[in-house]
Symmetry: C2
Subunit: 350 residues, 2 copies
Amino acid sequence: MSDWQGIIPAFKEFLPVTEGTPMLTLKEGNTPLLRAPRLSEQLGVELYFKFEGMNPTGSFKDRGMVMAVAKAVEEGAQAIMCASTGNTSAAAAAYAARCGIKCIVLIPEGKIALGKLAQALIYGAKVISIEGNFDEALKIVRNICAEHPVTLVNSVNPYRIEGQKTAAFEVCQQLGDAPDYLAIPVGNAGNITAYWKGFVEWQKAGKVDKRPKMIGFEAEGAAAIVYDRVIEKPETVATAIRIGNPASWEGAVNAAKESGGLIDYVTDEEILAAYRLLASQEGIFCEPASAASLAGVIKKKKEGLLPEQARIVCVLTGHGLKDPDNAIATVAGGPIMVPATEEAVLREVF
Amino acid sequence: MSDWQGIIPAFKEFLPVTEGTPMLTLKEGNTPLLRAPRLSEQLGVELYFKFEGMNPTGSFKDRGMVMAVAKAVEEGAQAIMCASTGNTSAAAAAYAARCGIKCIVLIPEGKIALGKLAQALIYGAKVISIEGNFDEALKIVRNICAEHPVTLVNSVNPYRIEGQKTAAFEVCQQLGDAPDYLAIPVGNAGNITAYWKGFVEWQKAGKVDKRPKMIGFEAEGAAAIVYDRVIEKPETVATAIRIGNPASWEGAVNAAKESGGLIDYVTDEEILAAYRLLASQEGIFCEPASAASLAGVIKKKKEGLLPEQARIVCVLTGHGLKDPDNAIATVAGGPIMVPATEEAVLREVF
């Protein structure tokens, strides 16, 4: 085994690392690339999953956050701040705790699932709920960070994409080459932008000969890029990609265009079907939003747009344990009740 | 980076692997050993955490289960079965899904948190609740497995400990030697037994010169080994070690004795304090039960039983995302509510 020390030392030539950058890490990155033997056969492609839920806080956000927080510390920040109700706040709070700086998380009022905030709270972030919506929260964060020694770590922080692009490097290393297609969920669109940047840089450095076609999938109820208009009230079961006005819109469009790929949408039904398939056929439990990549591959294969035996990597952005209630809701019925006898149990088993 | 292929290929000379054993994997093992700079300084020891929550289903159980399921498949089993309400059922269900065999989970009636079953259900296990207690569930499982082509994967399955011992190998590899002390939560006591077996074998193979002192910690309300009597109704916030009659009782006593270590208990208060410290000081979010190892180290250091600068590895058995409700309950208060103005937010921040 290798004693992996995180993405900053592993990929420092490709990252904005100076002599003053702390080698901050919770051992993010080096996530598994899992071959999917059963789904590959069913779909007639060579399918892999890059399981980013195996990062320390349970999502791909750790890659970008470790870079953003390391640079904040290098630049002397005593605190970081973000507006977020989900995975971003968990990652920000964890890395701030790790290096002993303050983390402030602003959330909009209303129906916030406390479970989604469990991580930010336990990592010791100060979580402030404002009587306003997400846009107002972000605006306040931007203003405070502009005027005080507090670093903004929302996706507008450019170091986030730098850290996130390292996942593309790993895919190439693990596969020995770039795949034919990289399928990825699209919400705020920072991740597809980051992967594409990573693949381009890795090829330019002569590490691989080719780059994949980037195929990104939004949820139907939040398909701003597909419909080419801002969605005022995005709705989807895949909360992590429930975004109606992606911050990296242009990056996503560009990645699809330059690579010869596409951006399409998948329905909630297709997302949940893929989510169940991943767990029950391959033993991989991811967030619903993550399953948009597999749902998209299934859709495009049916449409005849993916060649037989194409080598496809699907990105799974977060761990299913981030949202156990969804799993319960999805698996109708729950446990079967029987008397405490061998016979009664056997009737259910065989 | 290395493309890690799981514990079976990595440690096959030390495992019951034959030519017929499938190389089953969800990329379990190779979990981070995290240095704890801040807690090391506060405690005056050299402290590391072996974060087993970074296994695919979120707990150390994956190591033993991959071995048990691989052997079940090798021996022709069409199904596996266990009595469990927690981490064991999640691991069993995931590996069964991965290799396409059936998984049946028996649970006792009563106050089972559905969240704990989310994983078993989504991985496609058949979950059966019997009108009886845990012992009755286990008895039915044993009977069915004795009479039908179904493999029992509860902790009495000897392959479980074989797989679990690989964590000790990794600790030695990552540290370059065995630590002075290995601190570990003790519930059913299979894990301390497995680690000790691993350290002994690794030394016998000439890979390291020494073995650590094993220091195991039960929860006060479930401290069967410490009190040397079965606890009829074990009670502790650390549900993963809420066990009143450990299956590997003798193994735990033996590990402590042979290594010159000890088994002690820690209170729920000490466990929760350590749980919060881990998250807020080091950015590591684990299950409450996991924090028993750190709680024990803090207790023993206070008692003067651990030398200054001793090199100590604390095992963290599961990810905090397994039990987000506990995190919420632990962090009193939740978010602060303020008006949507910069001034109101600033008053909370500075």
